[in-house]
């Protein structure tokens, strides 16, 4: 024994061991952190930065300052009463002509048009008609081109466009605006539309979530109680819609639901209805088609949770004298709550962002907020409005999520057994 024990050169102190352990722990922690770096980088680049940029776009107001910097500075120094002093007008007229020549006036014109529709073509026409050299009487020259230059409202719009930030889009997306005195007021009836649309978006999403739950719960229950082979086969049928394009599915619903379509035909042939029902191009069509599209997102979490509930639990309840309904209500149902929570959240959040399905199978008053985000992004390229609407949706959904987490409890949302 003594032969195998080599004398230690210097036995380490307990402090040195602790230090070495701390060092190796720290190294391991850093390595573990290092492994998550790609994900963090990914989240930052593709998720956090775009969201930050979107929030910035909702209040960005640099069109005028970029195209006509001197005019923007001059306008910021003006008190905004009546018409501006001649030198402000001259700076603006000079830079406007230059911007027209450099083809940068369009951005400014579009920004002013967001403030007051009609300004875009008027400003482009002014840019075209202005002389190259700034006129001596700039106010008069501008007014001679278009009467609108005599109106302080136009100059105030310019002044608002010269500010570093704007609340125009955020206010507009909440159906608010700034009055002539600068105070925030409600937009006139007939133009106030986004609150209605936001409310409608939540209403449709909630109804779709409920419909999915009602349909998916018995289905998932049945699937969970079948043998695995049959369950997997049926699961393919549940997943089948995933493999079909969203457009095709929406178009198929139009065919099925239309006035002379098979569903109306069947209902009429069995004498249930006399005249065809209006099932498509209205709210009914939107709810049916969206429920169909989103159903798998409810079935999957429910199925996963139900599979994890041991069959012995319900059997035990029954053997102890419970009625089947009580056994379901007090033993089975509570254990599926995390699945209900996860499925409902998933379906609701996905539903909130829908726009193609409502656009195709809905009427004019069934469009959801995402439709307008797409409208401003793709059709009119008003990124300020698109970003403001998207931000409103983001805030509303986040608030709803915290409310939900508070009421339902965040730990209840899950699919783990």
């Amino acid at each position: 024994m003594s032969e195998t024990v080599a004398p230690l050169a210097a036995p380490p102190s307990s402090g040195a061991i602790r230090r070495a352990k701390r060092r190796s722990d720290r190294a391991r922690a850093w390595r573990a952190f290092g492994l998550t770096l790609p994900l963090l980088g990914f989240l930052l680049v593709f998720f956090l930065l775009p969201i930050a940029d979107m929030l910035r776009l909702a209040v960005a107001n640099d069109e005028l300052a970029r195209a006509m910097p001197a005019a923007a500075t001059a306008l910021r120094g003006w008190d905004g009463e009546g018409l501006p002093p001649e030198e402000v007008a001259r700076t603006l007229a000079g830079e406007m002509r230059a911007a027209y020549e450099a083809r940068t006036l369009a951005d400014v014109a579009k920004r002013l048009n967001n403030d007051n529709p009609g300004y875009r073509s008027m400003l482009m026409a002014t840019g075209r008609k202005l002389p190259d050299a700034p006129p001596d009487d700039a106010l008069g020259a501008l007014a001679a081109i278009d009467d609108a230059w005599n109106n302080p409202a136009l100059w105030q719009a310019f002044r608002r466009a010269a500010a570093p930030w704007t609340d125009l889009y955020v206010l507009q997306s909440l159906d608010l605006e700034r009055g002539p005195d600068g105070a925030i007021q409600a937009r006139p009836e007939g133009q106030a539309v986004y609150r209605i649309i936001l409310w409608r978006t939540f209403e449709i999403s909630l109804l779709v979530t409920l419909a999915c739950l009602v349909l998916a719960y018995p289905l998932a229950y049945k699937l969970a109680h079948l043998d695995e082979g049959t369950a997997n086969l049926l699961m393919i049928l549940v997943l089948l819609p995933f493999w079909t394009s969203l457009l095709v599915r929406s178009a198929a619903w139009i065919v099925l639901l239309q006035r002379e379509g098979p569903i109306n035909g069947f209902l009429q042939s069995i004498g249930l209805i006399d005249a065809p029902l209006a099932l498509v191009f209205n709210r009914t069509g939107v709810l049916i088609a969206m429920t169909h599209v989103l159903l798998p997102f409810m079935v999957l979490p429910l199925y996963a949770v139900m599979r994890g509930i041991p069959k012995s639990h319900v059997r035990a309840a029954l053997s102890l004298g419970s009625t089947p309904f009580t056994a379901f209500r007090r033993v089975f149902l509570p254990q599926t709550l995390p699945g209900i929570g996860a499925g409902a959240l998933l379906v609701f959040i996905l539903a909130i962002g829908y726009y193609i399905t409502p656009a195709l199978v809905g009427g004019a008053d069934d469009q959801m907020l995402a439709y307008f985000v797409a409208f401003f992004t793709l059709q009119t390229v008003n990124w300020g409005m698109a970003a403001a609407l998207a931000s409103v949706l983001l805030v509303a959904v986040t608030a709803l999520y915290f409310l939900y987490a508070r009421v339902v409890g965040i730990d209840r949302i899950g699919v783990g057994g």
């Binding site: 390595r31 290092g34 492994l35 790609p38 450099a102 083809r103 940068t104 006036l105 369009a106 951005d107 014109a109 579009k110 048009n113 967001n114 529709p117 009609g118 300004y119 875009r120 073509s121 482009m124 009836e189 007939g190 133009q191 106030a192 539309v193 209605i196 649309i197 409608r200 139009i254 065919v255 239309q258 006035r259 002379e260 379509g261 191009f281 656009a359 195709l360 009427g363 004019a364 008053d365 469009q367 307008f372 409208f375 401003f376 992004t377 793709l378 059709q379 009119t380 390229v381 008003n382 409005m385």
Partner: protein, 350 residues
């Protein structure tokens, strides 16, 4: 763990650097795809390639000024000739992302319809949004012949469809309300005019269905969902020719016509070839080949006479049809689309 990542990164960076400057590439033309671009390939792109020996590469898109802007940023454009609608032409030209055309090479402005001439683009087709109906449903009865009929649900019961949104819905509502064609946009400039359009739309609100995509109106007619609808004229004629439908177009009722233009992105590296291709595409003898395939009207006045009458009667530029046409006011709609879309949706929600 770090190694493969940094290696991969280095390789990607290197690849990026090596790809570096874009090489001179083939002439690239971008259009709407589908049957229309198939026809363009046959009558424009392939003959042009044959004639000049240049290769013509094709791409397709769905429009949008945002796309043109993105193509304009950084380096050379991947497109040389692009077919655009009115909004993109007006805004693209104002923003300087489109190249002014050489009108000399195109034969001068006077050779074309006034509405087809723009600093940055030349019209290539005239298409229309028309009042269409299923003639089979009106056999032995009087078919609708005016927009007033469209709004008359007593004489012509049944649902009708318009394109979702204010564009054209306003124009048709005012036409139905008795506003002469040349006054429509003048009336729309006023608050009262817009109210008037809404009031007219309101009168048949419960009988209106709103379509979203151009393929929908023929389907809505075919399935009997609606008795009449606004529709793109090319789609209606195509349904008649290819699916044997008997859809009618009430040209005399009045229609709104628009022009698609050919443009060159200002950062195209092949501007000269692009100009040559455009000149080839709008030459009268070539333009005249399009209507027999797809009934969009030519913009070159000399091409108008070369279209056979039985084809011409299905195009908005036919001499019998054109007087009933209202040219889509792009300036009005670029200015007012957002505000009117808001108002339209507020109205629809009531």
């Amino acid at each position: 763990m770090i190694k493969p990542l940094s290696l991969g990164f280095a390789a990607a960076t290197l690849g990026f650097l090596l790809a570096g400057p874009v090489q001179a590439r083939d002439l690239t033309v971008t259009s709407w795809g589908g049957a229309y671009q198939d026809a363009q390939r046959e009558i424009y792109f392939e003959p042009f390639a044959e004639k000049t020996g240049d290769k013509v590469v094709e791409d397709s898109w769905n429009g949008g000024i945002g796309v043109l802007r993105a193509k304009n940023e950084g380096g050379e454009s991947a497109w040389d000739v692009v077919q655009v609608e009115a909004d993109e032409l007006v805004q693209g030209c104002e923003e300087g992302i489109l190249e002014p055309l050489d009108w000399q090479e195109l034969g001068g402005e006077d050779a074309y319809l006034d509405t087809a001439v723009n600093e940055c683009g030349v019209g290539t087709i005239v298409w229309a949004t028309v009042l269409a109906y299923d003639a089979a449903k009106f056999e032995g009865k009087e078919a609708p012949s005016s927009w007033a009929d469209f709004f008359d649900t007593k004489t012509f019961p049944g649902k009708r469809a318009l394109r979702k949104g204010p564009r054209q819905s306003f124009e048709f509502a005012l036409m139905a309300d008795g506003v002469p064609l040349e006054k429509v946009y003048e009336v729309l400039q006023t608050k009262e005019g817009v109210e008037r359009a809404f009031k007219k739309l309101d009168s048949i609100k419960d009988d209106l269905i709103w379509w979203e995509a151009g393929a929908q109106p023929p389907q809505l007619l075919a399935s009997g969902e609606v008795v009449m609808t606004s529709a793109y004229n090319g789609r209606i004629t195509a349904a008649n020719q290819e699916e044997g439908r008997d859809f009618g177009i009430a040209w005399d009722a009045g229609f709104v016509y628009q022009i698609d233009s050919l443009v060159i992105p200002s950062n195209s590296p092949n501007k000269k070839e692009a100009m040559d291709l455009i000149a080839f595409m709008v030459a009268p003898e070539n333009q005249a080949k399009m209507p027999p395939k797809i009934p969009y009207g030519p913009t070159n006045k000399a091409a108008l006479d070369q279209v056979p009458p039985e084809v011409s009667k299905n195009t908005p530029t036919d001499e019998a049809n054109l007087p009933h046409g209202l040219f889509f006011d792009r300036d009005y709609w670029v200015d007012h689309t957002e505000a009117m879309t808001e108002r339209f949706n507020a109205w629809a929600s009531q």
